[in-house]
Amino acid sequence: MNTLYRSMLGGRSGLIGLAILAGLLLIVFPLLLEPFRLNMMGKYLSLAFVAIALVMCWGYGGIMSLGQGLFWGLGGYCMAAFLKLEAARNIASEAGTDQIKALSTVGLPDFMDWNQITELPWFWYPFKSFPLTLALMIVVPTVIAYIIGTAMFKRRVGGVYFAIITQALCWAMEILFVTRQGWTGGINGITDLRTLLGWDIRTPSAQSSIYFMTVVGILVCIVLGRWLLNSKFGRLLVAVRDMEDRVRFSGYDVANLKTTVFCIAAAMSAVGGAFFVLNVGFMSPKLVTIEPSIYMVIFCAVGGRMSLIGAVYGTLAVSYGRTFFSEEFPALWYFLMGSVFILVTMVFPDGLAGAATRGVPAAWRWLTRNFREPPPAPATAAVKEAQP
């Protein structure tokens, strides 16, 4: 029990950080924010899954993936495909006759109908079943990550090259999804999603339930991530990042380690994509291209690449700032965000988390320099509370 407490929750300081995050997301936000803003937070949090995945993959493993949008998007598309088929079935069964007449093929997603596809493509069949959808949502991105990972890491492609290759793959997927209109909905993506197993996901109450589900998902991912990173696997990851050859010479299969963490990151990102679809009710290829994928890395960098909790704050801060500034001062946003990226990489390579864990104690010591005996315990508590 004690070891589990240490490894999964990160001991007392880790538990405090987790509790503050949970309190903020589960109590403070729902109480303070109106439903529209809360739904927006849900949307941002579904991106935080990727940021957490990147902390494991990039911060600890040293594998920078610029194509994480690919996995996030695949997860999202799987969920969207299920919801779309359900929506199509509902239209067929309950709608008026004129709507039925408007569709040449009953039970087929509308965009297929618009593209003169009369029969459901074979790879859409599994998305008729919910359990199968959930399984595919995880399995498809993981298998693709496994293929990419084995192919690249076995050949010792790494660092910058890996980043650029993942970026190219992400781009290739976007092009495919945009051009195969009849199969994927093209540039518009999969829209007009209404119900999940008969439960209308567009009502305010459903939206807030989905928000809470997203938060729980985030917390589970953090705990899972902590457990992994505190295990021997996590130690090895850091070792691979810092001195890959030595780990290899010690007899470990480095390619296998890297592939494993890349697969875990892909699966985690895919879950985030699925939550995104539930939160906003659509999926579009514009959300999974190069630029969103770079943003995902930036969330992670701003939050702190070595901190799972920091990644969540980083995502919320950057996304919220983006929305706020593009509503209020659209021109200023680019200047501000650009400078933030430059500043974060140059001055705070450890992001918000680094600033909080190092900057705040330093400031505290400086402020209390005239009082010789500030007990250390309140100092660490102050750090954690100042973190949000």
Partner: protein, 320 residues
């Protein structure tokens, strides 16, 4: 290339064209591939220095291109408003000016940002992405969000007709010529001058280069500025074939990186080969598939080849 010519021949023969017309189609198709090649080469040359030699992932490379293009547009506007007589000859001046504008901005960027990040190459990606956002918004504020284009001098317009049925656009020839001249300049600069020697020495062994009296910090700064300046010239050359918008640079960045990575970082010959190979592959495939699918096929093929040959086509002989 040969497949394309064979296909063109087949098509032409089946449609009952005469031999002269077939020859015309062949030349024009070959030239379309060469145009794409010169575009890729122009884009990649600057990056081959910055990324290939210095290992800096400059995501703002496209913006330096845009900067050169806007310099040209500005100069053409200046000529048009104040000295219409000079309109015929402003273009070479614009290319030189584009070099110095982009180069001096690159110099400042290296001083302000890049030099702090040499130990962390992946972080240069994030910082330069931020830089590209700032530069794009600056262009938008100064030049407006709409697409603009430079007024071309008379001698760059129209097309050559070496013989009946063949139309070769002059701006295409100009672009090809510009890319070849620029490549020669870069190669001479890197391999046959003292400053190029200093650059290569610094890249190969920084400490040793410093020990024999090379100012490595200054070399870094000049190298980065040179790469940015070349991007600026490329941007100026691009105004002959298309219009320019603030976010145009971002469209090219992935292609450019793929060319440099595929060719083998650190090798100019590799970059030329990769630009040629990717351009020809793409224009051949565009014959069979739609344009975007050809793009996907080429991307996947490049990734696959990189998997087999992670160092790229040409491996620079550097002892690590």
């Amino acid at each position: 290339m040969t497949a394309k010519i064979a296909l063109a021949l087949l098509l032409a023969a089946s449609a009952g064209y005469s031999w002269d017309e077939i020859k015309g189609v062949m030349i024009m198709q070959g030239f379309a591939g060469l145009s794409l090649f010169s575009i890729f080469l122009l884009m990649a040359l600057g990056l081959a220095i910055i990324f290939g030699q210095m290992k800096v992932i400059n995501m703002a490379h496209g913006e330096f291109l845009t900067m050169g293009a806007y310099t040209t547009v500005f100069l053409s506007w200046l000529c048009e408003s104040y000295a219409p007589g000079l309109l015929a000859w402003y273009f070479p001046v614009a290319m030189i000016l584009a070099f110095f504008v982009a180069g001096s901005v690159g110099f400042l960027v290296e001083f302000a940002i890049i030099r702090h990040l040499y130990k962390r190459p992946l972080d240069t990606l994030l910082a330069t992405w931020g830089l590209s956002m700032i530069l794009q918004e600056t262009f938008r504020q100064i030049a407006g969000a709409r697409e603009t284009s430079a007024t071309m001098p008379e001698w760059l317009m129209g097309s050559l007709q070496p013989f009946e049925g063949v139309d070769i656009p002059i701006n295409g020839i100009f672009l090809l010529g510009a890319s070849l001249v620029l490549t020669v300049i870069v190669v001479i600069n890197l391999y046959y001058t003292r400053s190029g020697l200093r650059v290569r020495a610094t890249v190969m062994n920084r400490d040793m280069a410093g020990a024999v009296g090379i100012n490595t910090r200054m070399t870094d700064r000049m190298t980065f500025a040179l790469g940015c300046g070349i991007a600026g010239v490329a941007g100026a050359a691009f105004t002959t074939v298309g219009s320019i918008s603030p976010s145009a640079g971002g469209l090219y960045i992935v292609d450019t990186f793929m060319v440099v990575v595929f060719g083998g970082a650190g090798s100019i010959i590799g970059t030329i080969l990769a630009a040629f190979g990717i351009a020809q592959a793409q224009s051949v495939l565009e014959f069979f598939l739609s344009g975007v699918l050809a793009k996907v096929a080429v991307l996947l093929a490049v990734v696959f080849i990189l998997m087999i040959r992670p160092q790229g086509l040409v491996v620079a002989k550097i002892r690590k």
